[in-house]
């Protein structure tokens, strides 16, 4: 069965200022939606809206013909949201940080053994396994970002919402990230990703958010 994630004439206001309006798109399994636009054009606001953190002032976001505002629980179950901040607790070790996020999203049904394996796989995928027992305060900013990204792999979610995920990453980590996103698409997942610069992702749709100077 194909899933559809759509926006219908979505508008966004922040602090009384119109950020964007009348935005529409539609993606399905295997697609990647790339958000492009200058700073302040509403990429993060749109992603936060998709995550259900804010509600659109007009229009709606729809998953399989059902508005996400009406089924927040199901929607939260199918998304992974990665914001600007890494949510890394400096006092905890890398492994502990990751385990917390895993438990935060767990539905209580998963088996402990499998959870452990998923943790390890995620640490390997972003090449931070050797740091697993280190307190996170010792990480560089790129390493914390990788730790935040590793969260994507510890639980399954259909829709990944990534807000400039490549910030602070070196070239090889960028490649690893693209590889992992492609694998997610191949497995039938969807990705919404805000990016600056080129990308090698396939099946992409690009949504250009213009500067909001012309919107009043």
């Amino acid at each position: 069965m194909t899933d559809y994630f759509q926006a219908r004439n979505v508008s966004c206001n922040r602090g009384g200022r119109c950020i964007f309006k009348g935005l529409s798109f539609s993606i399905q399994n295997g697609d990647a939606l790339i958000l492009r636009g200058p700073n302040g054009s509403g990429k993060s606001s749109l992603l936060r809206m998709m995550a259900g953190l804010t509600t659109p002032v007009a229009g709606e976001l729809v998953w399989n013909k059902k508005s996400i505002a009406q089924e927040t629980f199901f929607h939260r179950n199918r998304i992974h949201y990665l914001g600007h901040f890494n949510a890394v607790k400096p006092a905890l070790t890398v492994g502990e940080n990751l385990a917390i996020w895993q438990k935060l999203r767990s539905n209580g049904l998963s088996v402990r053994q499998e959870e452990k394996k998923a943790l390890e796989r995620a640490l390997i995928a972003f090449d931070i396994l050797h740091l697993a027992d280190l307190p996170a305060r010792l990480l560089s900013s790129g390493e914390s970002r990788r730790l935040a990204l590793a969260r994507l792999l510890v639980n399954d979610a259909l829709l990944w919402l990534l807000d400039e995920p490549a910030n602070g990453l070196d070239d090889s980590s960028r490649c690893a990230l693209e590889e992992i996103v492609s694998q997610h698409q191949m497995a039938g997942g969807m990705v919404v990703i805000s990016l600056h610069g080129p990308t090698k992702l396939k099946n992409t749709h690009t949504l250009n958010l213009t500067s909001n100077a012309n919107l009043k």
Binding site: R76, N86, V88, A91, L92, R105, S106
Partner: protein, 221 residues
């Protein structure tokens, strides 16, 4: 339940490894109490009659100190966003955080109270009631304080704002805690006062948790 425990353990771990808030609260409490005999003079009768009020007010002010950090770091490092988009109920996670806050700040206060009570020459027969009153009052302080902390989480320099918001709401807790101890000293039963403290706690548990949850969601918008 799993999520509750996971977050509780996380917050306790962070608190133990950084050990800043809990230690600060505790040392403020002890220092404040130790200062009173110096200011009021060493007359044992005066101290004994003032002891219930001093202990409760100092505990209350100490509790205020730690509130600012309750949601602040989670808000600033993005953990709160993750908690809000987690499929598990935010209220459970908030309750876990409040519980962890009580364990790291309220519980140490209760544990040092008997020593400080001796210091203020509080009659020994009031000690049990004092402990009971503290045990019932400090969770309410954490719960009510969480509402203030969540409302001011986005604001800069929120500590003053929290005090202004929360201290008036602490008044009922203060009144019943002090009157329970006074009742024992006047050889009445402290039971009704303790029951009222329990009632405040029981009411605050759901009400404050829900209010805090709503305020945090608002802060994230």
């Amino acid at each position: 339940m799993k999520v509750f425990l996971a977050l509780l353990v996380r917050d306790l771990r962070v608190a133990v490894r950084q050990s800043s808030d809990g230690v600060m609260v505790l040392s403020f409490y002890i220092i404040a109490i130790v200062l009173f005999p110096l200011g009021l003079g060493p007359n044992p009768q005066t101290l004994a009659s003032l002891a219930p009020g001093l202990l409760c007010v100092a505990a209350l002010l100490a509790a205020i100190l730690s509130l600012e950090g309750l949601f602040r770091s989670d808000f600033e490092d993005g953990s709160l966003e993750l908690m809000a988009v987690s499929p598990n109920d935010l209220a459970i996670q908030v309750f876990a955080k409040i519980t962890a806050h009580w364990i790291t700040t309220g519980l140490p206060l209760i544990l040092v109270t008997p020593f400080l009570a001796f210091l203020l020459n509080l009659p020994i027969q009031a000690l049990l009631t004092l402990m009971l009153a503290m045990a019932l009052a400090t969770p309410s302080l954490s719960l009510i304080g969480a509402v203030g902390a969540s409302l001011t989480v986005g604001a800069r320099r929120s500590s003053v704002l929290i005090s202004v918001l929360v201290l008036p709401l602490y008044i009922p807790v203060l009144i019943f805690a002090v009157s329970a101890i006074d009742a024992v000293l006047l050889t009445y039963s402290p039971k009704p006062h303790l029951m009222l403290l329990g009632a405040i706690f029981a009411a605050a548990m759901p009400l404050c948790t829900i209010t805090t949850t709503v305020a945090l969601r608002q802060a994230l918008e």
